[in-house]
Point group: C2
Chain length 421, copies 2
């Protein structure tokens, strides 16, 4: 095949971009791990990393000696120059905001939280979050001089559906707030950095997909709490849907004649598998439980009503997840929410029901597991989104534009805490 | 924000790539259409297109006078130089193979079909397809000298699940063949061009998503025929899933106690909404129909049994599509298969059932419509896959590597039929 001139330079640039992207998405890795992820030979990869090291685009951060099992020579771990970038994750909950800041090698540099009331308006929440960010400068010396991106998680669908008529008032009269306007602008103006905003359950799905060393490209995530939320990762990307509502597994109809749901329909999964629905079902069968702690006690005592209610709810959840699995063929299904930690029967029952609803071949069945990150780890999900979407790669030094040079290899995370010029 | 040197060139290159990608994916368009799709101002776009025209990467193919409604000055339509690339779509059905060849402006240059028996082995089907391709050279003068990519659609899941134990034998003993190995290699070796192979129902989903001027990024496609197949487009990309099974809506369980399905489960959607299932249900209710033509007659006579059976099957289909819609939030749901053309009640009933299963807001409801492309248009789907995935863009002329120049503007589709050097 004829190769136009310049094609070799393009191929090399493409290889470099894949290496840098792998480091950005996964943090520090050995050459072997990088080679496996980007699908290059060790020889080609060594040429690429040598060039990137020489130009200061990446650095050697440590060896994998401490993580390595067994013997063998420890391998150097490479990373984007930690000082070359900072990433911020912000998670707005109904009653608090969490902030974490990480460097380019994915090490957490600083984190903190501020509480507020669940009636606090968005403008005030945003101001509290920005004040928290300033406090991290004072307390941890983080100056955001190389901030590459900010991920912000918010409760509720994002972007909010047109007309903002969803979600409706609940039967008890509580009105759920639509996703906030202005929070992205406030952060972008303060830091002059790109901002990604998304639903925090969806960001949690992304964090689960890339957590640990066994990251997956296709994942279905569902979280049981006051409601039932969800998020999808398809082909390595978070799915938003055409109007920001993708992943709303909690509002799949499981019984058209079922109980009214706060969304205005009847018989949604949420009316069966949310924490309040499960507690209410226990009451109905004669086991009065006030909260999750009571439920945990009942589970610990192997109370038959709690077991039956949990199995039934998880069975219904399993059928919904089963349909989603036939639709999306994920490698992994993750069930989140504190209740799944307290009641392991949920994950077991979902796996059993799901298995019966799939093609009768083992190869199509996803791993079903409880969430690794807790509900409080939302800011990690927001960070994951920026690791995946930062524009950093468009600006890494080209061959003609070497910065730092070999000296940059000695950069440490402290180096990042410099004042914006 | 500090801008490293070279960043302006990178920004321009990014803009150019977006323009070229839009033209590759959509074929010829006016500057106004391009500006809308890539999100650039008319001024910036004009600079970009002027540079690309000057370098011969794109050409003016015609004006939109013939397509334009109302008055106003006709706009020039721009396209990748038609002679710069050819794309081939190949659709293997159970009893025939279709081939179409298009140029870079998406005009069909040649097409043809060859029949075979449904017991014909894959090796022979591949040979017949390659012979058909040669015949197009003789009959239509197409020489594949600038072939950029080949899309191949095959029946059944692709890639085939591990162990190839799916699909199983049907109750009547027919064994469905797994997707072929070797067909991709045979085409790649013959043409020295990249080959994309995928399930042909999935490729049809992509073709529906990008058909017409109202292309959508998120689509759920389901096709009713001897079985029930499906395909998903999410965020503009075709979804494969972790083991090639994404989009198998026909095997979502709708009744765990239902009829045995050829996949080995019970009560799959396919046992209710496939053409054989619908015909069998008509028999059960006293309306003996042999085939789709009989069903079309019954529908034309408004036979109450046919109407009831179709509504019930479509209602079940609507619930499955409703769950998929809550999961994926698509902009459009497309129901394919000849039966949907014969019985419009199917699409109407799916839309009604689906509507009841969604959030009670209009903004979240997808358009539901019958497929635009027929079952015989599979090769168009295969072409769509290469338009979206061709490596052409990595090789378009850089500023330093001008080819063709202004003279290339006069190229026509005939110019593409040159012999490989």
């Amino acid at each position: 095949m004829q190769m136009p001139s310049g094609v070799h330079a393009l191929v090399r640039r493409t290889h470099e971009e894949r290496v840098l992207r792998a480091l950005q998405e996964n943090g520090a890795m050995s050459r072997g791990e990088i080679a496996r992820i980007v699908g290059l030979s060790r020889t080609t990869l060594s040429e690429i990393t040598a060039s990137l090291l020489q130009r200061g685009a990446i650095v050697i951060v440590d060896t994998d000696a401490s993580r390595r099992e067994g013997s063998g020579r420890p391998a150097e771990r490479l990373a984007l120059d930690p000082a070359s970038a900072q990433f911020m994750g912000v998670d707005f909950g109904h009653r608090r905001v969490h902030v974490v800041v990480a460097d380019a090698s994915h090490e957490i540099m600083a984190s903190g939280a501020t509480r507020y009331d669940d009636t606090t308006p968005w403008q005030e929440r945003t101001a509290l979050a920005l004040a928290l960010v300033e406090r991290l400068t004072a307390e941890a010396g983080v100056h955001y001089g190389a901030l590459q991106g900010i991920g912000i998680g918010v409760p509720g669908p994002y972007p909010a559906p047109e007309g903002r008529s969803w979600p409706r008032a609940t039967p008890s009269g509580t009105v759920l707030r639509p996703a906030p306007e202005g929070v992205d602008v406030a952060f972008a103006e303060r830091f002059d950095a790109p901002v990604i905003v998304d639903n925090n359950t969806r960001l949690a799905a992304l964090a689960e997909a890339i957590s640990g060393t066994d990251s997956v490209a296709d994942l279905v995530y569902v979280r049981l709490s006051d409601g039932v939320g969800g998020g999808l990762v398809v082909g390595g990307q978070l799915v938003t849907g055409s109007s920001g509502l993708a992943g709303e597994l909690g509002h799949v109809t499981v019984d058209p004649a079922g109980r009214p749901c706060r969304c205005g329909k009847r018989g949604c999964l949420e009316t069966v598998a949310s924490v309040p629905a499960i507690l209410a079902a226990c009451w109905e069968f004669g086991l009065p439980l006030e909260n999750l702690r009571d439920l945990a006690d009942a589970v610990a005592r192997a109370h038959p009503v709690a077991d039956r209610v949990l199995r039934e709810a998880a069975g219904v959840l399993g059928r919904v997840v089963g349909a989603a699995t036939m639709t999306l063929n994920p490698a992994k299904v993750v069930i989140g929410g504190e209740i799944t930690q307290l009641a392991p029967v949920i994950v077991d029952q979902v796996a059993a029901t799901l298995g019966a609803d799939l093609f009768p071949t083992a190869s199509a069945a996803p791993v079903v597991e409880a969430a690794r990150l807790s509900d409080d780890d939302g800011a990690i999900g927001a960070l994951a989104a920026v690791f995946h979407n930062s524009p950093l790669l468009a600006r890494y030094p080209e061959t003609a534009d070497v910065k730092g040079g070999a000296g940059a290899r000695d950069s440490t995370t402290e180096g990042a805490a410099h004042v914006r010029p």
